[in-house]
Amino acid sequence: MSEDNGEEPAKVIGELIGKNKHLLLSAVPFAMAVGMEVVEVGPARATLSLPWREDLVGNPETGVLHGGIVTALIDNACGTAVICALTRMTSVATLDLRIDYLRPATPGQTVFVDAECYHKTRSIAFIRALAHHGDCGDAIAHSVATFMLGANQTGPSRQIAEKVGQ
């Protein structure tokens, strides 16, 4: 995206993945185990959802989701946004993740996380994310994260690389 050598800028995975967007999560066992879904992706951005479930509750007296599962959803949404910002499939790893919990999630309601990779260098990606129940103006949590690119040789999914023609 930052390269300008007169050629058409290379398309990023967020544009190329199209209807195969479910592959971004299907290779992640924990995401599958808790019921995360890819709602929408685009260049350098991703929206994930997580329907409320009894076994994800943190306080059995109120039915409010555990903060940790919101953390996990945000972490995964941020990682997905980073992949959607890449032109080539590369492994990504969380360096740090800060989450501000603005209010408790409402029991019974699906949580959405919109994540955006707003800046990227050769080795580091910077992401911001918002967790909400469908209304961004009434957010549950706000987050900033940094991810390392090419942290190891094995990417999260060769399947994705194949689907985006790499």
């Binding site: 555990h66 940790g68 996990a72 972490d75």
Partner: protein, 161 residues
């Protein structure tokens, strides 16, 4: 939604069994398989046994960063509950997780240091490791809103490393 369960009553000093029962009462802790023990000094050590569903990257393989973050947060809450005068669950205000090494597919442990246990807010540092406690895989620090009666029951014996 099913009928809401009550949290187990805790008495001080909080016993090993009490901390174990508390973790069992938290559905998401059960899903992650997290258990915790409480030693004589009041220090909680949390344990997340390896399970296939905790994996985030099966090609390495490595634990999902979210499971590690959630585990750290749970450890902080368990330590605060062990210190509190009345039972209740503190609410996370913010948490910052630093990932130092990828989580290998094996058991993970964590301990929390309560830097300040105030009347309404606590500041906690948490550290997780696998084989070697001197090589943490992740650290975190966070602020927690304490419930009514959530002040420290006794001078906490864990305010030092």
């Amino acid at each position: 939604m099913t009928d809401r369960q009550r949290l187990p009553r805790l008495t001080h000093p909080v016993s090993n069994e009490d901390i174990g029962r508390l973790m069992q009462a938290i559905p998401f802790a059960r899903l992650l398989g997290v258990t915790a023990t409480n030693d004589e000094s009041g220090r909680v050590i949390a344990h997340m046994p390896y399970a296939d569903h905790l994996i985030g990257n099966p090609r390495l393989p490595a634990l999902h960063g979210g499971t590690i973050g959630a585990f750290l947060e749970m450890t902080a809450i368990a330590q605060l509950v062990a210190n509190m005068a009345e039972p209740g669950i503190p609410k996370t205000i913010d948490i910052t997780v630093d990932y130092l090494r990828s989580g290998r597919p094996r058991d993970t442990f964590a301990k929390a240091i309560v830097a300040k246990h105030g009347r309404r807010i606590a500041n906690v540092r948490i550290e997780a490791w696998q084989d070697d406690p001197t090589r943490p895989i992740a650290t975190a620090h966070g602020h927690f809103m304490l419930p009514e009666g959530g002040e420290a029951a006794a001078p906490p014996g864990n305010d030092e490393g």
